[in-house]
């Protein structure tokens, strides 16, 4: 698989784009797109006959309509596909009202379940999505249809933002955070404050009392893993289980969470951050197939 990482680290998250070499557009009946504008990052996915053709993932910035435009442009770069060939577009995520090219919007829970089902396969029954400013636990069936969900977007603890604040304070690049948290002699106790603001104060105290930065990272990741675990316990976990969202890339939290849960999560070769946009593109495909696309006439 040929991944093309543009290593522009706007505020430390890596941006990426990818084109599927096995999908040919010539034979495609329907080309649709989904755009997920999150509070921290935005993704655009183009689907051809139900298969992912290309995607782009970038920092949202100030959540203007440009975030959606840039994400789609990033996805299409170098593919030869032009926007006018996209038959239907669905916007999702926190900033879905700011997707000017969307024909309609669908809420993010539904899109995430549907997209995760495509990305991980239909054994998937429980998805944990840890994003920039929220954390969602979703149960779904073999078709990616939601059966139960719970979301936290009230509190920064356990979200990507919470992680960024800590990384910033400790001057550790967020992409190094996970690995450094395991570069320790012994796993320390979790920090006792869930609240990111108080955890920062606690971290200062720990550093003064002799903990090194990696140990503090370990303690914080541990506390975050426990917080996320209690969220997911509320709706119960049925196997198989997968983790999506920006935090899925943070080994420091995810490896510890998996240890607590004692369940082997599914893996994917796709970028798990694209689940929402992929789901949106698939819903778009369903609409177009049923003749409910832009023209509204049967096909």
């Amino acid at each position: 698989m040929n991944r093309n990482y543009d290593n522009q680290e706007f505020w430390r998250w890596t941006e990426s784009r990818w084109e599927n070499p096995t999908v040919s557009l010539e034979d495609a009946n329907h080309i649709t797109s989904g755009i997920d504008v999150g509070s921290v990052s935005s993704q655009a996915v183009v689907v051809a006959d139900g298969q992912i053709y290309c995607y782009g993932n970038m920092r949202t910035g100030s959540n203007s309509p440009d975030s959606a435009r840039n994400a789609l442009r990033h996805a299409l770069e170098g593919t030869g596909l032009t926007e006018d060939r996209i038959e239907y577009c669905i916007g999702t995520g926190y900033g879905r009202v700011n997707v000017p090219m969307a024909d309609r919007t669908i809420t993010e829970i539904a899109c995430h379940a549907r997209g995760a089902n495509l990305i991980y396969g239909n054994d998937l029954r429980t998805v944990l999505d840890v994003g920039g400013q929220d954390c969602k636990a979703i149960r779904c069936n073999e078709k990616g249809k939601v059966t139960n969900f719970l979301m936290n977007d009230k509190c920064a603890a356990g979200t990507g933002r919470g992680m960024e604040v800590m990384a910033d304070m400790l001057s550790v690049p967020i992409t190094d955070l996970g690995e450094r948290s395991f570069d320790i002699e012994k796993e320390p106790r979790p920090v006792s404050s869930t609240c990111v603001v108080y955890a920062k104060t606690e971290a200062t105290g720990l550093l003064r009392s002799g903990w090194d930065v990696n140990e503090v990272l370990a303690g914080y990741c541990s506390a975050m893993a426990e917080r996320i675990f209690s969220l997911i316990q509320r709706i119960g976990v049925e196997e198989r289980f997968a983790i999506t969202g920006g935090m899925a890339k943070n080994r420091g939290v995810i490896d510890r969470l998996v240890r607590i849960m004692d369940i082997e999560p599914m893996t994917t070769e796709w970028d798990p951050q694209i689940a929402g946009a992929a789901g949106a593109a698939l819903f778009a495909h369903t609409l177009v197939e049923k003749g409910k696309g832009r023209d509204g006439e049967g096909k």
């Binding site: 009230k154 920064a156 919470g162 609240c195 990111v196 603001v197 104060t201 003064r208």
Partner: protein, 266 residues
């Protein structure tokens, strides 16, 4: 009246307060930054209070400690639960108090008092920075307004706007967004205080019915000095008057000193 001289020490996350009480009055106060060493802060605050009251250590019959100072038993004679200390201190200054609220830097507590000043029910927040002074401090940094000016600035606004974020971290982003949208700073400031007051009022309502004419609500702690917060809290609770002690930071320490005296067996 029991004329023994006692001291009460309240160990807060930001400030450690020591009050020396003789008879009915605080006669010496010591306030010091808590820092990271509780024991040191306790000693410093005690020495400052002794200096202020022109007393020697030997004059103090008993020392009571409340707050995070539990476990420091070398100089301390009695450890007192912080809710009790808060209630006892409030009733000392306001004998008719029915509800007490203490909003500090990193915690907020409230208690409903019975007619004889005992604690009937209480609620605390020690886990979430949005429900404590840390919220206003963080917002003052995000706005670039000195903390001591926040309250007055808020009171200059007649335009309430809702604040969506309930978390310090998310609120910082929201404030930055409002600044970019050219919302007047005083309106943003008011929104910050309204949001804070809404959370504190919610906590107060958890401990008992409100809205009777017998309600006598005492508000203490560092945040009680913030006039913007007090006005917002009055609006939220729909009361005309809130009781603010002249020295809002020392009330639990006074309570601790009184309990140390009242429960001293020497």
């Amino acid at each position: 009246m029991d004329q023994r001289i006692t001291a009460g020490i309240d160990c807060g996350s930001k400030t450690t307060k020591c009050v020396i009480v003789e008879g009915n009055d605080p006669i010496g106060i010591g306030l010091t930054s808590s820092g990271f060493d509780i024991k040191e802060a306790i000693n410093r605050s005690l020495n400052d209070a002794l200096c202020a009251s022109n007393m020697d250590r030997e004059c103090i019959e008993r020392i009571g400690v409340t707050g995070a100072g539990a476990g420091n038993t070398e100089i301390v004679d009695i450890e007192i639960n912080e809710i009790r200390a808060m209630g006892r201190g409030a009733v000392h200054f306001f004998p008719g108090a029915t509800t007490v609220v203490d909003v500090g830097a990193e915690m907020a507590r409230t208690a409903r008092l019975s007619k004889n000043g005992n604690v009937e029910d209480f609620a605390m927040n020690e886990k979430c920075a949005a429900g404590a002074g840390a919220f206003i401090e963080a917002m003052s940094r995000a706005l670039g307004v000195p903390l001591e000016d926040m309250g007055e600035l808020a009171n200059q606004s007649n335009n309430p706007i809702p604040m969506n974020a309930q978390c310090v971290i998310f609120a910082e982003s929201e404030v930055v967004g409002q600044i970019h949208a050219n919302t007047p700073v005083k309106d943003i400031c008011r929104a910050i205080h309204d949001a804070m007051a809404s959370r504190i009022a919610s906590m107060i309502r958890r401990v008992g019915p409100m809205g009777t004419s017998d309600d006598d609500i005492v508000v203490m702690g560092g945040v009680a000095l913030n006039t913007g917060f007090i006005e917002a809290l009055k609006r939220e609770l729909m009361v005309e008057r809130l009781r603010i002690p002249r020295h809002p930071l020392i009330v639990p320490a006074v309570g601790a000193a009184l309990i140390a005296r009242e429960e001293g067996s020497d």
